[in-house]
Every structure is written in structure tokens, then in C-alpha cells.
Amino acid sequence: MSAERPIVNVVGQQVALGPLRRDLIPTIQRWFNNFESDRTQGDIPGPRTLERATAWYERMANRDDGYWYTIYETTDWQPIGMTWLADIDHRHGTAYFGISIGDQANRGRGYGTEATRLILDVAFKQLGLYNVALDVYANNPGGIRAYQKAGFTEYGRIREAYVSGGRRWDVILMEAIRPELDHPAST
């Protein structure tokens, strides 16, 4: 099943990143109804209507302070999730990173790790940002490992600040810093 290649902005080995697409709203709705995603995304698990997915799409598809991408795997060009830079702040050179692999079957294959590397490339090389941060919950060690592999390091821990499955978990704060020196003139 080889589909036509969609419009993409960044192409890696296993995955590629492209713009959000209106015709994928039903797919996004399917992902939004996956409680496995809610567990790690921090959304309150619940039913998500097509109207709600559409409203989310309308908000995210046309923003100046964030970049939202569809993640494709490059073999069949199927959409497998979304990744984003939010709260892009050019004054301080900062942004927040997030990612969601929509279907359970596509987790644990390195897709998330590579998509994270690609978006850090966008953040540092294309946008010239200095510090990209993320929040991840301690009930998601797979995510933490993927972020470490992609270049994030832990810089802090908010104790007992996330409730899931009837217990409290720490919120782990991670950051990635632009690899080049801040002021090339000082080299």
C-alpha cells in the first residue's frame, strides 16, 4: 500500500514532517479518542467528537506562535502522529516541544525519536532558537528515553504534580540547547 507522497517540509530516514491537513481531521479524531495518548499527553480521558477535533484543527492550523506538523512514516507516507513547537518566543529564543504518536502500533519503533530530532533541527537551524523545553510525566519512561536519545536532558522535576491512574507522578522538565556557541564572534 504505497500512497502518493504528501507535501512535506522536513524529510528524515524513517519519518517526515509536513503541515497539518484538513482531510486528516477524522484521523486526528481517532487519535484523540485513544486513552493511551491521554495517559501521556495529560488530556483528561474522555470522548472527543469530530466537532471538537475540527475546532482543535482550526485553532492549530493557523497560528503565529507555534508550528504544528503531521508526522509521516516514509515507507507508505501514512500519517502516524503530530509534533509541534508551541509558544515560540523569538525575543528569548525559546519554545516548547510536544509530540504524539497516534496509534499504539507505531510506538517503540524509533519514529518519535527521529521526529524529535527533526523538529530540534527546525528549532535550532531554521528558527535560530536557543532553548527548547518539554514537560513529560514520570509514567512515560518510553517518552523520556526517546527525548534523551534525541538530545534532551532533564533540568528539573515538579514533584507530585500530575495525576493519572489514581496516583500522583512527578512532572519531568527537559531542555535542549542550541549546539553552536551563542556568539560565534567569541570563538
Partner: protein, 203 residues
Amino acid sequence: MNLGNTESALYSIEGESVALGPVTSDTRDLIYRWFNDPNVTRTAGVGDGPWSMERVEEWCKRFTGSDNEAWFLIFERDTGQPIGVAGLRDIDERHRTAEYAITIGEGSARGKGYGTEATRLMLDYAFVARGLHSVLLDVAAYNPGAIRAYEKAGFQEIGRRHGADLSEGTRWDTVFMQALATGFESPVLGAIFVPDQPRETDQ
């Protein structure tokens, strides 16, 4: 403006040197003055552009219009003079978390421990009156006076986002601090938020 008049100041939470109460119709005039003072905006985290009264009024909507924020005016207790604002933002009832912010607007009120006590009273409000579990704040590393005050009030540093604050041409860390309800000793409200005792007439 009713400054220096204890009769006009309505106190919800009274400490030793400061008290917290609801904002008043005068508050926008205070904010207008405070947010146009670079001594205030250097550390207040509200940006450093000019604040028109229209922009101030937009900002002040948070005082009245939101279930997930709770803002108090800080008064010097004995004189009733408003000296700043303190608030909980992003109050999340599911996770029982919130973020904290404070600004001492009156220059004459700095360095007297007022911010420390107001912060202590706000934690009292957060943990005892609202039943929250965790309160988080962030502060720029170039503001060690505030960091010390937050520590005295019960916050602990839990992390540093490196170089995330570009101010005056230098990259500074953003310091994250947290206070937990566990082990918090209530200065004021613990004596109020207690179960009623059976009355003699009920027996």
C-alpha cells in the same frame, strides 16, 4: 484613590505586616502606575513595553473573570496602603496544581519582608482554602532577592532552564521553584478552616 486608609481596605487574610484582600475599582490606576515603572517591570515578567490604560484594563480582567486564577491586592496591614498584587494562575482542579506570581509595585514597600509574608499567605490560601497540592513559580536568575524571599516563604528550587531568559544582552537561567502542601505549616487559615464543633444546644 483611597491610599493610607485602613477603613477602605477589605482584608481577607491578615498577616503580621501585610494583608490580602480583593481588588478594588482603584486597582487599575495602581497597576497603570506600577507597570509603567521599569523598576517593577524589570522583574515582574509582564514585558517592558509601555502600558496604556486600555492594556491595563485588559490585564485586570484576570482579577474578576476567571475560575482558574485568583488574584489578591496586597496591603500594608497597619496603613491599608495597597503595595502590590499576588495571584494564582492556571489553577488546575484535577491535578490540584497552580502557578504563583507576585509584584510589589510600591518602591517604598520593597526590602521589608512584605513580599515574603504575602507569599506565605498566598500559599496558605492555596493549600488550606483551595486544597491545592502543588504551587509552582518561575523567576529569573538575575533576581536573587526574590529567590531568597520565595525560599523563606516555603518554596524550593526544583530546576533551572538554562539560558532561557535573554535580558540586558545576557542569557540567564529561568529558575523553577515549587511548594508542596505536604508539611506546610499554616500561618493563618489553619485556625479558620476547621470542622465545626458540636454546639451545646445540639446535645
